[in-house]
Amino acid sequence: MSAGAVTAATAAGRPKGMSPRTETTLRIVAPVAVGIIVLGIWQFLVSVVGVSDYLLPSPASIIEEFIASWDSIVQATLITGTNALIGLVLGSILGILLAALAARWRAVDRMSAPVVAMLAVVPIVALAPVLNSMFGADSQFGRQAIATLASFVPVFLNTLRGFRQTAPVHRDLMKAYAASSGQVLRTLTLPTARPFILTGIRIASSLAVISALVAEYFGGPRGGLGSLISTSAASSQYARAWAYVVASIALGLLFYLATLALERLLLRHAPQVRRRP
């Protein structure tokens, strides 16, 4: 939704006489230019002003380290990415199922509301060591469970909201058609909730990556991005730690963009969502 808001804002603030094409180009060129300038200043601070490479590794040395440890970065990204993906998928499925139950039966809603509120505020930092020791030091399960929990909350909340968006006129229509509850779910409730579910999954995607990564700081098997960042930093290999951070950012972006693409793809046939922001 934020992408839509940004688009609307730029469209509204577009100076007269600027073609949409120029505007699109600018929208891509501007952040890239800012990024390059920041990197340039960073590099300048380290190599000319003389900020210690130990304190702040230069972009060049980070890139160097990135290329040098490419294999281990790919390996680590795969491990963390798998944990995050499993968590995202499980969390989304659980979120959608439980939201469906809560939307169907008020009692389930009342029972689940406090539990979900609690889950929403559970700090990963608190849970990770507990789960790691529960499932053993060589199991990825604790991390996957944490990613699942983190994904579950936004998917559940958004889906539940989506399930409650059906218009009265549509519900009347379904009743007039004597539609079974399965038919109502399939032809009305789910399609109405679809944009909400997808937004929930998109929000959850970033959370899944972050929590899978942070959970690695608190023990468990080594090899993921999170544990490699902490190991590298602990042994003062700051450039390498930064290289892993770059990979983490890339992984988070990948998840976000993939879910965004999924959203765009599935909502292609719902013009009202796209055209009326």
Binding site: A167, V169, H170, D172, L173, K175, A176, Y177, A178, A179, Q183, T187, L188, P191, R194, H269, A270, P271, Q272, R275, R276
Partner: protein, 289 residues
Amino acid sequence: MSEPQDASGSRQDRPTQTTPAVEVHGVDKVFETRSGHVQALESIDLTVAAGEFVSLIGPSGCGKSTLMRLVADLDEPTAGDLAVFGKSARQARLDQEYGIAFQQAGLLPWRTVAGNVALPLELHGVASAARASRVAELLDMVGLADFADRHPDQLSGGMQQRVAIARALAEQPRLLLMDEPFGALDEMTREKMQTELVRISAETGAAVVFVTHSIPEAVFLSDRVVVMSPRPGRIREIVPMRLGAEAERAERTEELREERAFFDMVTAVREALHGGSPVGAGARGVETR
């Protein structure tokens, strides 16, 4: 009451042709709200013959929409009996005896025009080939054949309402329930839609219960106009339309709107609505039957 519907070319093959489309006896409806009881309808008696076009008219709060919702079994009466083609309202709903259209078109925005019209057929398990040909036929009838693949938000309000009417007609119901379907349309579109509805109802021979708050609309469309009064909702008067008795429904055309008889009927309904009916107009309205 037998003249107009025989003339309107309703399907004779149905064995239940003689049973009235809607029979309402002594129906009350009380809504329980936080601030207490609200008597929405009080001792309503009404019979709508098969193939007859009846309008419910009255100020807001007179329960005309509620009455239609009771017939549709979207709400249940607090007291009294209600039969649709001789069955209970619930059974009639389950048997899909009626088609329905609301003030809002109520189209599913993620479905195309064709998909929306096909919805009831799909829900009731009509095979896809039969469905496609029926949808094409219906879209042709409402003049939207070229828009089958559009989505509702690409259509004007009038076109959306036509899709809703096509959807209501999808299963060839013997009874059409319409709750101010043209209420949100501009006057021009509205008149055009009324003419189309007259044509369509003549073609299908369906009985129509039509809720409106427009007097000319009720007069133009109906065989009888049921005038209701608010708080509690009661039937104040049932005004038969001379237009219906004299002419076949299909012959109601734009010219009718300019005829003397049309204005007389408008006056009759207006006076019924406002309670006091001057002798001349009121008597004339009744004597035609």
